[in-house]
Amino acid sequence: MTHSAVVVGGNRTPFAKAGGPFAEASNHDLLTSALDGLVARYGLAGQRIGEVAAGAVLKHSRDFNLTREAVLSSPLSPATPACDLQQACGTGLETTIYIANKIRLGQIDSGIAGGVDSTSDAPIVVSDPLRRTLLKANAARSTKDRIAPFARVRPRHLKPQAPSVAEPRTGLSMGEHQALTTERWGITRDEQDEIAAASHHKLAAAWEDGFFDDLVTPYMGVARDAILRPDTTIEKLAALRPAFGGPDGTMTAGNSTALSDGAATALLANEDWAREHHLPVLARFVDAEVAAVDHPGGDDLLLGPIAAAGRLLARQGLTLDDFALIEIHEAFASTVATTLKAWDDEDYCRSLGLDSKLGTIDRAKLNVTGSSLAAGHPFAATGARIVPTLAKLLQQKGPGSKGLISMCAAGGQGVVAILEAV
């Protein structure tokens, strides 16, 4: 028997630029803060939740049990189990899928999905030779044996290594990859700047409306998304120099997401359970699909969502027209533009094994309260930012309204999911 899994609501910290106001906060701190706010919003203090699943893309080895530790720091009952999941930028959505699936299978009645990332708290590791020396010394039995390995350590071994943002197999940063895609798909600078400006304006308007009053809890004195620039314009964005794709590139710091710090959570529950416990029922989790492309083989790194959405819509017998709202994670403005273009490209869609192209969408349905360009993108948190946001928007649209979430992720992956207002 399958159960109906619903989104009850969510909570996140405001997002801020890496090295900004949250520079001193760790992943643990941020995730705990997001849980604290969620617990407070829904009166869950002392309650045992079925499971909490969250993750971080950049994670310290000391945080091997990050989510469980955050649960223990939160007011949730210490009897609440937790697990860490990671699917690059798709983490926050993948944790939602994991929790929703458990609820649908009847394994749990309630669960929290989340994600956190702090590029300010990125783990710095020691070089391979030094690491092996330390391990060897640690395993040695005598003092002499313990000291001996260090004779081989050279100054260059002492240089710390920051985590690379490059794709391991290609050595290209995500921006460099997307620059290739941008050029291949002929996405213009204007188009990208327009998407970026709209993101800022829509997010600012939503904040002004109080839309985020029950979705965000301030942290460390920051009450709103700190990256947001309500007064940015296409003209201002047009003045920025290219950041990717060489001197003639079209991608700038303005139409690419900033490295960010923040955490987000979504509360999910069995629909009956939610009603019995008098919790809000915003939207039902309908279905999800994950896909991947062969980027080491030259495919467009961030177009994983094309096949994912195609297969998902085919399985559900839906078309893009069936969606009242669509959320496409703005890794880059050009990701949004290429995703839309690729969904409408017959040849490309067929090359992915889809029966036909997905078609076009009404831009008025897209990212109506802004997305990652304006809000920021703490990698693993973004999915858990979008899920409650979309659920709330769908509920406002009325029962039966459907929403599609599309997220690209490192490693050539794409995660998509469908929500439907109850």
Binding site: A40, G43, D213, D214, V216, T217, Y219, L279
Partner: protein
């Protein structure tokens, strides 16, 4: 802490200030605690409501020592409280009996002890009405003469009020909850609720909305009401959300980030409560702001923001919550509590806007109370005096020390003192207490 402040609180500083006549303030008895010494009960003219109420409270009463002439007799030991049932006092000569009861008691009463006089509201002939007012003068003066944190309270018991109606009030006053309430007088009317005893957790199963709950007095209110069993909906502006969440989680309540001046604030509160399948037992309008300036410098923005947050928003929210059609609104038998202020009652330089709003709150509760009696909804206000909070901690030290000591208890109150008084007012058993403004001010020198 400033250097001056440090010096003042150093041992040397304390010795100097003691010589200068500044007493070390008494440590007040607080919480749901009874006086240590015996409770002495006296009745003038044969009133019995006092005796019956003490019985319901489960407190044994001892007989009084009466001053009958030359040498003032003593109790021999400290007494915890003197309760005088003066409900049958209507003539001037009866006041002598009160003197004879008070004289020995004032000397014997313990630290944080209580002198409580039960009387009737002013009524009857000229003498009777005059005497009623005379009791008020006595109460206020006794409060000033008492030492070591002992307090005096005058409760006017309406003729039809039963001992049950009086239980929550007398219990509140005798217990440590009323630590910072002294020299005050308020009325208990018939409540029509059968009360057999004092409840330990009177708010069990009741939803209470507290605005401005993220810090200071609001946070204390949330904690105290949660201790009394309430399910607290903690409301504050979104930027205060982090502290608000901490308070909500601490008390096991829920946090609602909301600007109370928003047009739909009342509806949002109701929806939040309705979502949980409940209705509101009480709303505590604690949120408030100050925008202090001398009137010559007060512009329209300073004026309107204070009046909107402190007064107009309450009115709008009450209107929505009182509408019987509002799901998640205020239940019949519910409670509304506003926060007035001694500034509002006495006026305060540089606070015209604030005084207007706070006096307005006092006016609002007296206006609303009679109209809601039919629905069993009570409307009251508390008027805090100098309360030690983060906000008052910012007042320069010398000025703060002056404020702090300008009352009969020689000290500032604590947020919990305000909270306890609110807890008393929203106790379902306090049905007969409505339209009252109770000052929690240690009998501040300013105001009534």
């Amino acid at each position: 802490m400033s250097i001056l402040e440090k010096a003042f609180y150093s041992p040397v500083g304390k010795a100097v200030s003691a010589k200068a006549g500044l007493k070390e303030p008494a440590r007040l008895r607080r919480g749901r605690t009874w006086p240590e010494g015996p409770i002495v009960l006296a009745s003038i003219g044969g009133g019995t409501v006092g005796a019956q109420t003490l019985e319901l409270l489960g407190r044994a009463a001892e007989s009084p020592i009466v001053d009958d002439g030359d040498a003032a007799p003593g109790y021999g030991a400290r007494i915890g409280a003197l309760v005088v049932d003066a409900t049958e006092v209507t003539r001037i000569d009866q006041l002598e009996e009160l003197r004879a009861l008070l004289r020995p008691a004032v000397r014997a009463v313990e630290g944080s002890g209580r002198i409580v006089v039960l009387a009737r509201p002013a009524a009857g002939d000229w003498e009777s009405r005059s005497v009623a007012r005379a009791l008020d003068g006595i109460n206020r003066t006794v409060a000033k003469e008492l030492r070591k944190g002992a307090t005096a309270t005058l409760i006017r018991v309406a003729p039809d009020a039963t001992p049950g109606d009086l239980v929550s009030s007398l219990g509140f006053v005798l217990q440590g909850r009323a630590a910072y309430v002294t020299g005050q007088c308020w009325t208990v009317a018939p409540g029509g609720v059968a009360v057999e005893s004092l409840a330990e957790t009177p708010l069990d199963g009741h939803v209470v909305v507290v605005t401005g709950a993220a810090r200071g007095i609001g946070a204390a209110i949330a904690r105290t009401l949660a201790r009394d069993g309430a399910s607290v909906v903690a409301v504050d502006i979104p930027p205060a959300g982090e502290q608000l969440a901490a308070v909500a989680n601490e008390v096991g309540g829920t946090a609602l980030q909301l600007d109370i001046t928003a047009a739909d604030a009342g509806a949002t509160i109701a929806a939040h409560v309705a979502q949980r399948g409940e209705s509101i037992h009480a709303i505590v309008h604690n949120a408030g702001i100050t925008r202090d300036k001398m009137l010559v410098n007060t512009d329209a923005a300073r004026w309107s923001s204070v009046l909107d947050v402190n007064l107009a928003a309450q009115l709008r929210i009450n209107e929505v919550l009182l509408d019987p059609a509002t799901e998640g609104g205020l239940a019949d038998g519910g409670r509304i509590v506003g926060i007035a202020s001694t500034s509002g009652i006495a006026g305060n330089k540089g606070q015209t806007n604030y005084a207007a709003s706070k006096a307005g709150v006092a006016g609002l509760v007296t206006a609303m109370a009679p109209d809601l009696v039919d629905r069993g909804i009570t409307v009251n206000a508390v008027a805090p005096g100098f309360i030690e909070t983060e906000m008052t901690g910012k007042i320069p030290f010398v000025q703060r020390e002056m404020f702090r000591r300008a009352n009969s208890l020689d000290q500032g109150g604590k947020p919990v003192d305000v909270a306890e008084t609110i807890g008393y007012l929203i106790d379902p058993d306090s049905q007969g207490v409505t339209g009252q403004v109770i000052r929690v001010c240690g009998q501040a020198l300013v105001g009534q």
